[in-house]
């Protein structure tokens, strides 16, 4: 048996070739997609500015637009990466290209996860900053007042997705949606290798079933076990006061354990899904 002369798992020079080849073959659709994303955001923001006189470009709306776009485009993009493996004419050249499965997966992660996330944020904020400025310009030059009051509609600020400010659960100091994004995107990447046809739909159904299962666990199993009057939230159990103030009683996991669980979701799950994707790639038959 011949021993392989070079590292058969990862060689930077080989990976660099793979990255360059991927870019030259896909740059056109990638750049067009980014332009399309920017155009869609600009159209949506312009629409909301036109129809919403009192809270144009509100932080909440920016947040929803960002999260919806990130999840929809990111997961769709991920599920397309290995879709080629379902057709022989695309799969055979890809599998026979002299690079390891690990290098091929790393190349996909670089484009589909790292560069996509950076490019998506750049496009979103390029559009968002301009639209927020435009919206504030309108409210500055054409002052608006809330109906029946002398309260003036205030200018809005650009929403910062990287802080907990404006997040659904600000006191937890993390964005649960962005934390979970990488795990869900990694699940879609795995789905594109696992399912040979309709991978996006099938993975979406699988993720939905998992979420339903989790919701059932929370509400159908854990909640009935709690004393009467207690709320059940993920990693947080509390008896709320009726005046809307802080909870009367609260049970939370120790801070380090809570952080560890969040980190597991944020970093552990994507790593787990990528690892399983790598195993599936190695076993892929065409």
């Amino acid at each position: 048996m011949t021993t392989a002369p070079t590292n058969q798992l990862f060689l930077f020079s080989r990976w660099r070739l793979l990255v360059a080849k991927h870019w030259v073959e896909h740059r056109r659709p990638y750049l067009l997609s980014l332009l399309a994303i920017g155009g869609l955001y600009a159209a949506w923001f312009a629409f909301t500015i036109a129809i919403d006189a009192y809270a144009p470009m509100a932080a909440n709306m920016q947040f929803m637009a960002y999260i919806t776009g990130l999840y929809a485009v990111g997961c769709l993009f991920s599920s397309m990466f290995f879709a080629d493996l379902s057709t022989k004419k695309d799969a055979l050249p890809w599998l026979s290209l002299p690079a390891s499965h690990f290098e091929k997966l790393l190349c996909v992660i670089l484009y589909g996860v790292v560069l996509f996330f950076i490019a998506f944020n750049v496009v979103f904020y390029c559009v968002d900053i301009i639209m927020v400025q435009w919206s504030n310009n309108i409210t500055f030059h054409h002052p608006r007042f809330f109906p029946g009051t002398t309260v003036r509609v205030q200018p809005v600020t650009v929403y910062n997705i990287f802080t907990a400010v404006g997040a659904p659960v600000p006191e937890k100091n993390y964005h649960i949606f962005t934390s979970l994004y990488f795990a869900i995107q990694a699940a879609f990447l795995l789905g594109s290798v696992y399912f040979t046809r309709y991978s996006f739909v099938k993975t979406a159904i699988a993720v939905l079933l998992f979420i339903l299962g989790f919701a059932f666990l929370q509400q159908g199993v854990i909640y009935p076990l709690l004393p009467k009057g207690w709320n059940n939230e993920f990693l947080d159990w509390a008896r709320m006061s009726y005046d809307g103030g802080p909870p009367d009683s609260e049970v939370r996991l120790p801070g380090s354990l809570e952080k560890a669980i969040v980190a597991l979701g944020q970093f552990g799950l994507p790593l787990f899904f990528w690892f399983v994707t790598w195993l599936r790639l190695k076993e892929k038959e065409v």
Binding site: T2, A4, R14, L17, E25, L97, S100, H101
Partner: protein
């Protein structure tokens, strides 16, 4: 160079191979002949590591193909029947794919491109299917990969290109290389291959070199009814009957691949007995 031992492979409940053994040596061009659906492409994809043997073992160039190690992938080139080239120009495609093959030779590629008259301007996807195939064949040969697997390479090539293909392949073979060509268009491989392998129902029905075939079998036209009746295979031709006979008197004849193929399918046991 390639050793296949006791290969078992099936698609779900449809068995393709059940204990196939085959050896391919360097310095030869093998023609893999067989009807549609007899497992020619499946065999090629098992050798290339796209499919995994369910039982048995394949050794190709000292590697286990199913591991798809980069060192192995760089030493063979597989030309599938159906393929898609990237949306790039020919020079740009070569610029980005050639570095993956350490023995790629640019001069050779230019030579083959000229032989095949592939236009260098414009995108690859603007080329016709036949021209795209010729570009892929040129790349495959210029990589100098010791093992070349070709699945129906002449499909989509016009008559002139088919003869260019034979010329180019004949010029590319050397003692270090092994070329396996799978086809059901037997005549396209005439005067090119030096070994014939006939696959039928997942088994190697016939596996001989052309020189041995010429030595043991006689291909000729006959008008003698007795000879026609005793032939291993016969078919009516424009003049008389084309017959396949045992070559008992060491006569010279030019093997007719199509006739041999039909004869082996019809009378395989008797023909193989002549080579024992």
């Amino acid at each position: 160079m390639v050793t296949i031992h006791n290969l078992h492979y099936s698609y779900r409940r449809q068995p393709v191979f059940a204990g196939l053994d085959l050896q391919l040596q360097p310095g030869h061009i093998y023609g893999l002949l067989g009807r549609n659906g007899t497992g020619k492409s499946t065999l090629l994809r098992n050798i290339a590591g796209f499919l995994f043997p369910q039982q048995g073992h394949i050794d190709a160039l000292g590697f286990t193909p199913r591991k798809r190690q980069p060192a192995f992938l760089a030493k063979y080139f597989h030309i599938p029947e159906d393929f898609q080239l990237p949306d790039l120009s020919l020079p740009r495609w070569i610029q980005y794919i050639a570095p993956f093959y350490p023995d790629f030779n640019r001069r050779q590629f230019d030579h083959y491109s000229r032989e095949f008259a592939i236009p260098a301007v414009g995108g690859l996807r603007e080329l016709s299917y036949g021209q795209q195939k010729k570009a892929l064949i040129s790349l495959a040969l210029a990589t100098n990969a010791p093992l070349l697997l070709m699945d129906e390479p002449t499909n989509g090539l016009d008559i002139h290109s088919k003869s260019q293909f034979r010329k180019v392949i004949a010029g590319a073979i050397d003692d270090e290389k092994c070329i396996l060509i799978s086809t059901h268009q037997v005549n396209d491989l005439e005067n090119l291959i030096d070994n014939v392998t006939i696959l039928e129902e997942g088994k190697i029905l016939f596996h001989q070199s052309m020189s041995r075939i010429a030595e043991r079998l006689l291909f000729r036209l006959s008008f003698d009814p007795e000879e026609i009746a005793q032939a291993l295979y016969s078919e009516s031709a424009l003049k008389g009957h084309a017959v396949l006979l045992p070559n008992r008197e060491d006569q010279d004849s030019r093997p007719d691949l199509e006739m041999l193929y039909k004869a082996v399918l019809l009378n395989g046991k008797k023909i193989n007995a002549l080579f024992a």
